[in-house]
Symmetry: C3
Subunit: 441 residues, 3 copies
């Protein structure tokens, strides 16, 4: 399939939202963290859909200013009351154990236990999600309701975990296009049972990689499934010499909830990916929002550091941290929906289509307007799904195709959707009225 | 008369609105189209006021991507009912016949006739204006009320027209200034009995050409009275080699109604004519509006094609297509008024004055402020019609006259009207406090 | 004391507002004008605090387009009624005599007297402030109430003044920094008993000069206490050859009232001092307002003339001319307050601190984010008065320190206060994570 199919909507399989949802649901129960069996199990499931490769970085490997951490394995964890009942139980929710908790097995009074327990007083029935990656400590996360119901007394506390030399693992898949210039798509794979953040991103990116793998593309497409921060650091350390090939990028995260869509700009702020996303969001359904770059967020932080300055933005639905379900047990499979996933997917696909096809054209009859009637162009436009738009697109394309305006420039100036402008350009090119110049970058 | 007179208001003869109105009224009854006797009759009337030349392009002449069309002559047209009464009659309104209708003389039932009749259901008492330039067809335009009153039955239909080899005719007048750089002013001459669109433009441009012809100017002024689209194409085809002399331009159209004024920017958007018009509209009475360029409109479309990129904007009162009288029989002599015509005239004259005189100055005493009191400048300013404005203009002119700011720059930055700034600059120049540099372009 | 102390607030002695107020109160009763004993007495009082030098320009000296005026001495003035009572009395308020009044001693009817009397009908209980510098005339200023109460009849009018060859005097103090580039601070010393305009400015600038004199600075600081307009002209005439050393400047005027603060931009509009003040006002308390440059105002007019183009802005509280107390007897010591003076002082000190310290940095670990935890940086930030701000500042500094962004650029982009960004930069520099480049200008 040619990438141009994207522009005509052929690539928008209506069932894609369902497929992504089903994969996200399959990933949901797995207990992921920065390292450990959960990440391997997750990536193994994804490999059934796209032939991603596992990259392994042994514990202790220096990676930029960091070091690959010990591998964390969690087998079980609980708190038992005096009656021996599990009042907090890892088997009920893997959020109950703070990520990277060191092992513990002791009996202690409630007051001491509470110093290791996290809850959300403002959302008393939700379990929070917490980690303690680089501090040798342990903790439990519980709902305020459960915590309040614990009577005074002694509790037996057990975390059956280990922190051993092992490996940091991430997934990578490269689709080669005609150019070595790359479009980077990444998502984080280090969160346990939270559906939006980030089973949605894992599943969407996997389906997207599978679809791109079947296409002829101009750019090369690099997909990364990374443990947050440390995974991006590891990839950059391993790919320092050719990281500059990345010309456009998107971090994909939290793409299944009903809010947004929200796009966060790159550090540069007006990169081609920024212009593409801002344009698409201007015409998007929902409550589209464009937010400025800040060095707080997901792995776009790493790609946008001054030593790399890679033009990588962030696409999500609701802005992270802005919704009550964020980083809690309420971020479950009810919080995401096939429609939202399909909409996010379509948006990213449209961005890819735009970046792939955006180029400038030359009007071959630039002096005065060509006589459109004698060429039957009005009839041809009559068949377009957006007749008014394509008629205006035709006039704008003829007027601005002096080699100095790309299709996106024309879409922005005319206020028309890129897809309408691009479709009409193809029609005019077929008529010999436009001649394409090389794609924009 | 020196062009500078414009700035002092000497050129603003209060009766100019009446003169333009009278000429528009004289032109109103003539049945114009792209070609034919009505255009010749119209241009002949204008020649009594300004010595414009008729340019003649024989039918079939290739002009850019187009061909000069056959000449259309309409002598009479009617629809008769069974009683032989003219129920639609070209003699009552030349709008009744669709422009470029081919001849027909047949009797047909009402249903068949209706396929050739245009009306306005939303404005049931108005006759629409329609043309069918490049399709060999015929049609009648009637009010919905008349159409609804036609009983079933047979009707005798007659259009006594001819489409023959002939000529495309347009009018041209060049006023030579000191420079070969040109200011282009055009208007369309192809509409039948509609007062605002465009008897108003025809009459205004003619009076303006007559006035300019009596002036010493820096720029040369080219006036064109053109059949829409095809006339501009014909002129460009004939003048391709030196079209680039056009440095500024205005299409003048629909300048007699009570709305606006409305200025549509050039393709470039910030050309000198754009800056001039935007400035003048900022200080204009009425409901001034500046709209962005789009490749939909009048002949500015042709001049702004990428093969020419001439800085030609559009001046009108109400935006075309935005008022119910537009392209109907309600666009009659009651819809235009001498006051509106005079206001439009004044605006265009002011734009010419601005473009003619806009230049940068040097403050001859640039270090600290000059002592104004000892030169009696406060008294001189006291005699200006705008004392406060001219006092501020004086301070701004002294402050910004470093050779890098034109009078328009200073007017824009200070928020003062250009005329006040220009008058004050002349006064300061006479005092030796400013020295003029060459005009801006 | 190092200039850096400014950033930590060490320089912000809480009592500074009281000290400035006390000095303003001491200056308030003195009858100042462009020239004369009042100016010398005023500058003499200031010399007790800072070793400013008196510059003397003899009457008649040509200074740019002007001439040093005669010196005006006023000893007494009154209007007596038929009973010999002083109904207007200079001893009650020095505002009663128009500045630069020529001597007069005559008896005249009320009608004639009134042609020399100024009052404020809209503010009937206030005495206006008026001058007649360059016209050989005399006048009295009284409240409308007093004026209305004068019965018809003859009045004895006496002004015991003299206009003799003498000198124009102004004060100057230069604090030398490491660079010859200068920061200019000026205020006008020519107004009689008005507290805000401009005892406040005189007192503030004097205390500021004293504080700066005890500091190590990068820039040199030039302080001028000038009679309005003519003083700036005199200084420029005397310093024409090296006026270009002035890189930044502020005219300080009306800095004690409860309004504002208001900053008026330089002619250039985006000079470093403009950016600094706009930034500080964005984070300022009160009703901060930034207004555009205009060639109407205080001595910034002279410094911004095209022959000098010095980047000198204006700082005041309420915008001059915008409050009813302006240039009246209501501008008394009740109208100014230590809190407002302290706030103005702090704002100017912050601007100086910003201009002194603003520079770009290089992130020494630019590839990926450094691992902050292992360096204990989170704890160090925890001790900052603005923990959230300094944490975000840390991330922004690491992200934007590529040598192309100054601290102010980073403060503006992040929305954080400059002081937070600068403090955090010092901490990161101490950690070796940032390396400073040369200061910005």
């Amino acid at each position: 399939m040619d990438i141009g199919a994207i522009l005509t909507g052929e690539a928008a399989d209506a069932s894609v939202g369902e497929s992504i949802y089903r994969l996200a649901a399959k990933l949901f129960p797995i207990c992921r963290s920065l390292t450990g069996p959960g990440v391997r199990e997750t990536l193994g499931l994804l490999q059934k859909i796209v032939p991603l490769e596992l990259r392994r970085v042994p514990t202790g490997t220096p990676i930029l200013d960091w070091t690959a951490p010990k591998e964390w394995t969690i087998r079980d964890a609980w708190v038992k009351n005096a009656a021996g009942e599990r009042v907090i139980d890892f088997r009920a929710s893997n959020l109950h154990v703070m990520g990277y908790s060191v092992p513990v097995h002791r009996t202690m009074p409630l007051a001491e236990l509470k110093r290791h327990v996290f809850s959300l007083p403002d959302h008393p029935n939700l379990i929070p999600y917490r980690t303690g990656y680089y501090a040798a400590t342990w903790g439990f996360c519980v709902s305020q309701e459960v915590l309040d119901a614990l009577p005074e007394g002694d509790y037996e506390v057990m975390i059956d975990s280990s922190l051993d030399d092992g490996e940091l693992v991430y997934g990578e898949y490269l689709h080669k296009g005609r150019s070595e210039d790359e479009f980077l798509l990444t998502t984080h794979c280090c969160h346990p049972s939270m559906a939006n953040d980030n089973c949605s991103g894992l599943a969407l990116l996997t389906h997207l990689a599978a679809e791109i793998s079947r296409m002829e593309t101009r750019l090369s497409y690099r997909f990364l499934w990374l443990p947050g921060t440390i995974g991006a650091i590891a990839w950059l350390a391993a790919n320092d010499a050719h990281a500059g090939r990345i010309r456009h990028g998107l971090v994909v995260s939290g793409v299944g909830d009903p809010g947004g869509p929200t796009y966060k700009r790159t550090r540069r702020g007006d990169a081609p990916i920024d212009r593409a996303m801002v344009h698409l969001l201007r015409h998007a359904a929902g409550k589209p929002e464009v937010i400025e770059f800040s060095p707080y967020g997901y792995d776009e932080r790493q790609f946008n550091t001054p030593g790399y300055k890679l033009d990588v933005g962030l696409i999500q639905r609701s802005r992270f941290g802005s919704y009550p379900q964020y980083h809690t047990s309420a971020d479950n499979l009810d919080f995401i929906a096939p429609e939202s996933l399909a909409d996010s997917y379509r948006l990213i696909v449209d961005a890819i289509g735009l970046i792939e096809t955006n180029s400038a054209y030359l009007n071959t009859l630039p002096k005065g307007e060509p006589q459109l009637g004698k060429r039957g162009l009005y009839d041809k436009i009559g068949g377009d799904p957006d007749t008014y738009g394509s008629r205006m697109a035709l006039l704008w394309l003829l007027n601005l195709s002096d080699g100095e305006h790309t299709l996106l420039d024309i879409a922005e100036r005319s206020g028309l959707p890129y897809a309408t402008v691009a479709r009409t350009a193809r029609m005019l090119e077929a008529e010999g009225l436009l001649r394409a110049l090389a794609a924009a970058g």
